[in-house]
């Protein structure tokens, strides 16, 4: 399909979905009317910019079924979004939605090189979470042998992997590492098994982790992306080139916007990912702000797929900093630190004022077995951290080495950013 044909299809589907939500969902009707937007007036994809955004709170406020755009009679399944904070949200699927989802997940598995000859071990949880059943239906649609083992019972996972001849593993990246470790303890040489690819998602992971998994399991580790508000897994997937995730643009419109101004950013620049579902009937979302940070990977993929690619999610808008005009995500700093021996991945970003200027200092813990007598080596370590941060984030931050274990450990979400600007009297 050419870009022009795709855009024509997208526009047709967009107009249908806008009319559908305006007609059936109170929240959208109110938002559109307040914005003076008549769905029929949308005559190009550019017109999408005038359509109001949708946020997670809209879904929470409509709990449980308020955002459904189809009558419950037509809904055949519900799932729920993993609410890390506050109330869960419910998403509903019509039979068409389930069928489209299966197609998209079959596409995802195929993207990882999967075919009807594969044995797919589905280790994502089955239930309200979208992961397990999402991959399951896709694997069946592809015609692969589907092993619905769900999560847990790690030793049995290893046995099944060995005995059933699993070729594709679907789970979270951290669980893949646990499986490798457990196999080692059981004396099973995973690297000698027929396993050849993993489709990993549902949590953020880094390039370092990818290399670790690929070494430990001798697989191609493929990043997949999705969120239950938009569909579940199947929104985007890496191909075997492992250079960005192809967005299934025939079903989803992707936009990258500046999270502050909500203006679109040019291709290649990072910002917040916004999705509009084009085909969903049960619970379409219009310009849904994911809070995930990514960018469009410019250029064409050598694999031949023409759908545009989004970079692996590098952070969340919730903890984004803007330093001298550059968007900085603490998770990027963490990724840099994870690759440097001698420092712990514990860090804190301290914002302060020096005169009228914002000053940013990254406090990085040295590990306890560092040779503390060697000032030169400590200096080298500090400069190395600073230069690798500069290389990864394109911004020069002051790095301060701090004593081992001096950064507060927290049980839940670590406090990575300390804003000391107001304490100093502000601007």
């Amino acid at each position: 399909m050419s870009r022009a044909q795709l855009e024509e299809l997208q526009l047709r589907r967009l107009r249908t979905v806008l009319a559908r939500v305006h007609g059936n969902v109170e929240t959208y009707r109110r938002k559109f009317d307040e914005a003076g937007l008549a769905p029929a007036s949308v005559s190009s994809l550019e017109d999408l910019e005038a359509v109001p955004f949708t946020v997670k709170d809209d879904l929470r406020a409509a709990y449980p079924y308020g955002m459904f755009a189809a009558p419950l009679h037509d809904i055949v399944r519900v799932h729920s979004s993993s609410g890390t904070t506050g109330q869960i949200t419910v998403v509903g699927y019509t039979a068409n939605d389930i069928s489209n989802w299966a197609d998209l997940m079959a596409r995802t598995i195929a993207c990882a090189g999967g075919t009807a000859d594969d044995v797919v071990q589905v280790t994502y949880g089955y239930g309200l979470f979208t992961g397990g059943l999402g991959v399951h239906y896709g694997s069946e649609r592809l015609g692969a042998v589907t092993v619905p083992i769900s999560g847990g019972m790690t030793k049995r996972q290893v046995q099944v992997m060995r005995d059933f001849g699993t070729t594709i593993l679907a789970c979270t990246p951290s669980y893949a590492l646990l499986l490798a470790e457990t196999a080692g303890e059981m004396g099973v040489d995973v690297r000698s098994l027929p396993l050849r690819a993993g489709i990993f998602g549902a949590e953020p992971w880094s390039e370092n982790m990818r290399r670790q998994i690929e070494r430990a399991l001798d697989v191609k580790a493929i990043d997949i992306y999705g969120l239950s508000e938009v569909l579940g897994p199947g929104v985007a997937s890496e191909c075997l080139e492992q250079d960005g995730l192809h967005v299934n643009e025939d079903h989803f419109l992707i936009e990258i916007v500046d999270p502050e101004t909500l203006e679109p950013v040019p291709d290649g620049e990072r910002g917040e990912v916004v999705f509009t579902t084009l085909t969903k009937e049960g619970i379409p979302v219009i310009r849904y702000r994911t809070r995930d940070i990514s960018r469009i990977v410019p250029g064409e993929c050598p694999c031949g797929r023409t759908f545009r690619r989004m970079e692996r999610v590098t952070g969340r808008t919730d903890d984004m900093l803007i330093v001298r005009g550059v968007n900085v995500f603490p998770s990027q700093i963490e990724q840099v630190l994870a690759g440097i021996p001698g420092v712990a991945p514990h860090y804190q970003v301290i914002l302060s004022k020096r005169g009228a200027m914002d000053h940013v200092e990254v406090h990085v813990e040295v590990v306890p077995d560092t040779d503390f007598d060697e000032i030169r080596e400590l200096e080298t370590l500090r400069r190395k951290v600073a230069s690798e941060i500069q290389a990864a984030l394109a911004v020069n931050l002051d790095v301060k080495l701090v004593e081992p274990k001096s950064i507060e450990r927290s049980q839940g979400k670590a406090k990575r950013v300390v804003d000391a600007r107001s304490e100093q009297g502000g601007v």
């Binding site: 040779d371 400590l378 500090r382 301060k400 004593e403």
Partner: protein, 148 residues
């Protein structure tokens, strides 16, 4: 050779005080303490009677600590004494990483603490030149004998 306690210290108010309190609480007797600092951080080097106990106490207080083998050279008590020591090391092809000196209580001679890249060769060269290197027992003899 003697063991020196090297402690990583952030350049923050109160950290040195905390370090000295931790050593006092552990009953560590110090002979020398020097701070080498850069703009970003400091390294505190300590010669004390029980280096291992000092390391444990400091680590328990959250400090990063390394024990380093250094030479404790008894300085020849005459003009040119230091020049001789440095000369011997330089002739032996040994690099000096840093040095600092302190005066032993009740003695005329100073003790020079020297960290070199090749301690073994340095010690042999100094011995050959008739310069005495102290052992831990030499340094702490007073404390051991006089402790009550």
């Amino acid at each position: 050779m003697v063991e020196q306690v090297s402690v990583f210290l952030e350049n923050e108010p109160g950290h040195l005080a905390e370090l000295t309190r931790a050593l006092a609480a552990a009953g560590i007797n110090m002979r020398a303490l020097v701070v080498a600092d850069t703009a970003e951080f400091g390294v505190v080097r300590i010669i004390c009677d029980r280096p291992r106990a000092a390391k444990e106490a400091l680590e328990a207080s959250g400090f990063g600590v390394t024990l380093t083998r250094v030479l404790a050279v008894q300085m020849p008590d005459r003009p040119g004494g230091l020049a001789q020591v440095v000369g011997v090391l330089s002739d032996a092809g040994v690099n000096i990483e840093y040095m600092y000196a302190f005066v032993e209580p009740g003695a005329d001679a100073a003790v020079d603490i020297v960290r070199v890249d090749d301690p073994k060769r340095a010690a042999e060269a100094l011995e050959d030149a008739g310069v005495r290197c102290l052992r831990a027992e030499d340094l702490y003899a007073t404390e051991d004998a006089g402790s009550s």
